[in-house]
């Protein structure tokens, strides 16, 4: 008989457990850790492994208790303090993280990692100046460490010194050129500060150096778009998609450049990504572009509602920051409900205090689930994120009161029913608008040519459409 006896020595077993935890193979690490504990009893080393295992398996309370047990047994081990500090930081318990990191610094004053942990915890606590000082010491002791340098740059910017922050990132790139996160942080910094040319140059340096990262190419595309370099941006987005094919934002932009079959609508995740990032400066940006739609919708409302008295309730699809709401709030209409996919845009709308309620949702999903009837549905610069309009219009018809009004704007296409434009929006033809409204049992009251906004001084042409439910045929 082939008798199989356990022959592993305790040291080998512990090393194997550590390696398996590092590899994320918790199912194998667990039984071996149990065996190691039978051989060795409780030691801080095994407590630490048990903590890592528990955290990996999502057993946070167990992990915390193992860290605590380890530190109780060996309170003077700086490494244990550092480990618990990191753990607390990951949990968002920054006070605990700062406390343990401070202990670690006291126990090991020359350890840059301990200082970096303390700096990061202080930064998370909003104590930017102290964080900057700690991280500066850590970075001076370990200048090639890109993570410490990145944290120092963040602390420095938070401390009100953006030029110094960028200098830290930039010098880090020359001393630790391969650090991907540092490079991306530097590019993002440039984009946030509207220095797109430098951002592109940094991204290009990364590409030449062989960086394989979707984010780098995506940021480069963003910066190129901002400078009007649309062809180059399309190439960058295509490369980003090769490395990050699950990113709906990039996928939609690649489709918009014609390199992928056009989707029938912009994915909600794409819209969320765009508008969440855009929200704080959305109003200012659109006003700068001569955005015409809220005023046009107001004129239509005045024209069609004149003499009909009050109208409501009002549904503002894709309400964004509430620009349409502002334009029509003084009319005898309401109450107003706003729908948008971007929570940050909705926060801006809420601040205007014009809407009775605001909902974060995709328009088609919301219309399908809503049970109300609306006297007026408006969609300013929202339908342009749909190519095929039939599903949206079916939802509108379902929710529009029998004598209700639907007012929306679109960009005009060059003859084809609908086309996905390079900027990620769709344009539609007048004939298609009429056909699709008719198919949805909506009667066209008017389709007027309308300048939507100005880009580079040139008008973006479109239509302002007014429709009502078609009269029932008896």
């Amino acid at each position: 008989m082939d008798m199989l006896q356990a022959t592993a020595d305790p040291g080998a077993l512990i090393r194997r457990v550590g390696a398996l935890i590092d590899a994320g193979r918790y199912g194998a690490a667990g039984p071996l850790l149990a065996a190691a504990r039978q051989l060795n009893g409780q030691t801080p080393e095994l407590n630490l492994l048990a903590a890592h295992l528990a955290e990996g398996q999502g057993q946070i309370a167990q992990a915390r208790s193992e860290y605590d047990a380890a530190i109780e047994t060996a309170p003077d081990l700086a490494d244990l303090r550092k480990q618990r500090s990191s753990f607390c930081h990951r949990l968002g318990d920054f006070e605990c993280a700062a406390r343990d990191a401070a202990e670690a610094v006291l126990l090991q004053p020359t350890d840059p990692d301990a200082k970096a942990l303390l700096g990061s915890a202080l930064l998370s606590l909003g104590r930017a100046r102290e964080a900057r000082a700690c991280l500066a010491e850590a970075s001076a002791a370990d200048p090639a460490n890109p993570a410490i340098r990145e944290a120092l740059a963040i602390a420095t910017e938070a401390d009100g010194d953006p030029d110094a922050a960028f200098a830290i990132l930039r010098s880090g790139l020359s001393s630790a050129g391969g650090a991907l996160n540092l490079r991306n942080a530097a590019i993002l910094f440039c984009i946030r500060h509207q220095d797109f040319a430098t951002g592109i140059a940094l991204a290009e340096d990364g590409r030449v150096a062989g960086t394989v990262d979707a984010c780098l190419f995506g940021l480069k595309g963003h910066a190129q778009t901002s400078l009007g370099q649309h062809e180059a941006a399309a190439d960058s987005y295509a490369e980003a998609l090769k490395l990050g094919p699950d990113d709906p934002y990039v996928r939609h932009l690649v489709a918009a450049s014609g390199l992928l079959p056009g989707a029938r609508r912009a994915p909600p995740d794409y819209l969320r990504a765009v508008f969440d990032g855009y929200a704080p400066r959305f109003d200012e940006h659109l006003i700068g572009l001569g955005y015409q739609i809220p005023g046009a919708i107001r004129r239509v409302a005045l024209e069609y509602l004149d003499g009909t008295g009050a109208c409501g309730p009002v549904l503002d699809l894709g309400c964004g920051t509430g620009l349409v709401g502002v334009a029509i709030a003084d009319l005898p209409i309401g109450p107003m409900t706003g729908i948008d996919v971007s929570s940050r845009m909705l926060a801006e709308a809420e601040a205007k205090d014009l809407y009775a309620s605001l909902h974060e949702a995709d328009a088609i999903d919301w219309l399908a689930e809503d049970t109300g009837r609306w006297g007026l549905i408006v969609a300013g610069d929202m339908v342009c994120y749909f190519g095929a309009l039939e599903p949206l219009l079916r939802g509108i018809k379902l929710r529009l009161a029998p004598d209700g009004w639907f007012v929306f704007s679109v960009e005009a296409s060059d003859g084809v029913d609908w086309a996905l434009l390079r900027q990620g929006r769709y344009a539609h033809s007048k004939a298609y608008l009429a056909d699709s409204l008719r198919s949805a049992d909506l009667a066209v009251r008017s389709i007027h040519k309308q300048v939507i906004r100005f880009e580079a001084g040139a008008p973006v042409k479109g239509f302002l459409v007014v429709a009502q439910p078609a009269p029932a045929i008896h």
């Binding site: 008989m1 039978q38 390199l259 079959p261």
Partner: protein, 625 residues
């Protein structure tokens, strides 16, 4: 007589198992296990009995309880691992075997089982460590040596694998592995001999014929007739279950479910040459389902397939027949085989018919499949001109441009100026698998180097990481009158570094009869044109297709003398070469070779054509599928 003797219970269990009573056998093994918990063979016999009874799932909790009761029982953990694998719970099985192997590092069997499972999970480095440990502990065990050799082959370490296999008392399956390893160290004729020997020993077994069909395309002098005959012989021996007609709705215009059958939907020639085409198929018309071993999450090409596919079915645990049934359940309308008779290929499952329309495309697409159930063969006018159609058992589905679309990696280095301008001599290069470099290729290349005494040749492939293989190759050139210092042999590197090494090359040389495929595309992207020697079989015409598709038809020939002359002519005009190189990436980018949207339209049209043909056949009452 001996109720306290575990080996008596074990023998009783084996007798009961052999006499067809697995339930009683199971009970006997359980008695034996209770008496000798550390007895590995009894524990594993218990697994066999539970498998035969169909009670694996019910027996597992008992084994798990034994593991929990005694964490130091490697026999129980081993049995648990084997059970979990048979239940299709691969990750847990790996963990259990890992525990067993870590607890008993001196025991070969848990290490061997762990290595085998790791290999099946495509975790080759870890598999090698486990199997090497098992081999060190049990060096005379041919199964362990064979398993280790197979892992080494998959890691492109064919020289080591071959040496290991040559030392094993060989059965037919070992001979087939030996044939594969031998072909890949450049001994193509010998490899064919090993495959033929395997066939002599087991003439009705599929494996030998499959190996022959895979080895022949690399051999000097092979022709399409012989290769088609070998593929047909392989096909004739494939089992075919009576699954009946495919019941797909014969609507010519409806959206289609397209199944991609391959274990190589990742960073692999199959991935690089097809993914862009699938990405640009109209999603409203084609829904993609991947059928194959899932690739590592970190693989960027696999991630692109994952983003495309509505479903990815892991086929490893499925027999060929079960795979065919699964594909039919999924409603696959058009099945594209992208694996052929290769290592992870499941083309034999197509004999059971997975879908009403079956198409052979990239992935060991070295020539006709010979498979009568393979309806179509995706190709182009350069790969299969009309005069070669008779060499294919399938109908040809010719795409208007090339038959593939190359998706260049975003991390490819920039093209540098022609190295010859700075070097003062021309550097030829061939970055192909050594299996493609035959003795005749060496003779022809040596002839070129003798006529161009300052020229150098860089050969780069995985196999040149092995010093013995390098020494042998240098001897071949020396024997052909070329000094070894003119030959630069380079081993494996990561992909970006691999691409960067084209910055040392002025002209790429196509091997023959098995031409470059992806390698020619990569060379073009790096500004290096390939001189082509096109032959008769499909594998002999890949470079011809790619070069013509990129608008460089003047780089192709079809005999050795013309090839040699063309190489020398092209190498003699470095000024023209420098100009060509400087604009080559832009040229390729603008060509159909990388024009994914254009390719996607053509691919979609071809798939629709094949589907409509089936629908039409159905309307006319044809019922073969």
């Amino acid at each position: 007589m001996a109720p306290a003797d575990p080996s008596a219970w074990d023998r009783l269990g084996l007798i009961l198992l052999a006499s067809g009573d697995p339930r009683l056998a199971s009970a006997a093994f359980a008695e034996g296990e209770a008496l000798a918990p550390a007895a590995l063979d009894i524990a594993l016999h218990g697994v066999e009995a539970a498998t035969a009874c169909g009670t694996l799932a019910n027996t597992l909790p008992r084994v798990e309880a034994r593991c929990a009761d005694n964490p130091f029982n490697p026999a129980a953990h081993t049995a648990r691992g084997v059970m979990l694998e048979r239940l299709g719970r691969h990750d847990e099985a790996l963990d259990a075997l890992e525990v067993a192997s870590s607890l008993a590092p001196e025991a070969p069997l848990p290490a061997c089982l762990l290595g085998g499972m790791l290999a099946r999970s495509n975790r080759l480095q870890e598999a090698e460590i486990a199997l090497r440990r098992a081999h060190d502990l049990d060096p005379d065990n041919p199964r362990v040596a064979n398993d280790l050799a197979v892992v080494l082959i998959r890691m492109h370490r064919h020289g080591e694998a071959r040496r290991l296999l040559l030392g094993i008392a060989a059965d037919a399956s070992v001979l087939c592995n030996l044939a594969t390893a031998t072909a890949n160290v450049g001994l193509q004729q010998e490899a064919v001999g090993w495959a033929e020997e395997a066939i002599r020993r087991s003439p009705e077994a599929v494996l030998g014929w499959r190996t022959l069909a895979n080895s022949l395309p690399y051999m000097d002098g092979v022709d399409g007739t012989r290769l088609l005959a070998a593929s047909r012989a392989c096909s004739d021996r494939l089992p075919r279950a009576a699954l009946g007609l495919c019941r797909n709705t014969a609507d010519p215009d409806r959206p289609l479910t397209v199944g991609l059958l391959s274990g190589s939907l990742r960073s692999h020639p199959v991935g690089w040459l097809t993914v862009a085409g699938f990405e640009t198929l109209d999603p409203a018309s084609f829904r993609l389902v991947c059928l194959g071993r899932p690739a590592p999450v970190s693989d960027p090409i696999a991630a692109r397939f994952r983003a495309l596919a509505t479903e990815w079915v892991d086929t490893d645990a499925l027999s060929d027949e079960a795979l065919a049934r699964r594909a039919r359940e999924l409603g696959v309308d058009v099945l594209i085989d992208l694996g052929g008779y290769g290592d992870s290929g499941r083309m034999p499952a197509c004999a059971h018919r997975l879908a009403p329309v079956q198409i052979k495309w990239v992935g060991m697409q070295n020539h006709s499949s010979g498979l009568r159930e393979m309806d179509w063969f995706m190709t182009d006018r350069w790969e299969t001109p009309a005069e070669l159609e008779y060499l294919y058992s399938e109908r040809l589905l010719r795409l208007p441009d090339g038959y593939v679309c190359y998706s260049p990696p975003p991390y490819a280095p920039d093209v540098v100026p022609l190295p010859a301008l700075a070097n003062g001599f021309v550097t030829f290069g061939c970055f192909n698998n050594l299996a493609k470099i035959t003795p005749r290729v060496v003779q022809v290349w040596a002839g070129i180097l003798r006529r161009m005494p300052t020229a150098r040749l860089v050969l780069k492939t995985h196999q040149f990481s092995d010093p013995e293989t390098c020494a042998w190759m240098l001897d071949c050139f020396t024997a052909a009158g070329v000094a070894a210092e003119r030959i630069d042999l380079r081993g494996a590197s990561r992909h970006r570094a691999f691409m960067a090494e084209y910055n040392d090359i002025d002209i790429a040389l196509d091997p023959f009869p098995y031409s470059s495929g992806l390698t020619t595309c990569e060379a073009l992207w790096m500004g290096v044109p390939t001189v082509v020697y096109a032959g008769e079989i499909f594998a002999a015409r890949h470079s011809l297709s790619h070069m013509c598709n990129a608008g460089l038809a003047d780089w192709a020939t079809s005999d050795a003398a013309a090839y040699e002359a063309l190489v020398i002519e092209k190498a003699s005009d470095t000024a023209a070469l420098a100009i060509l190189r400087a604009g080559l990436r832009s040229r390729v980018k603008a060509s159909p070779l990388t024009d994914a949207p254009r390719f996607g339209v053509h691919l979609g049209a071809a798939l629709r054509f094949a589907w409509r043909d089936w629908c039409q056949g159905r309307q006319l009452g044809h019922s073969t599928t």
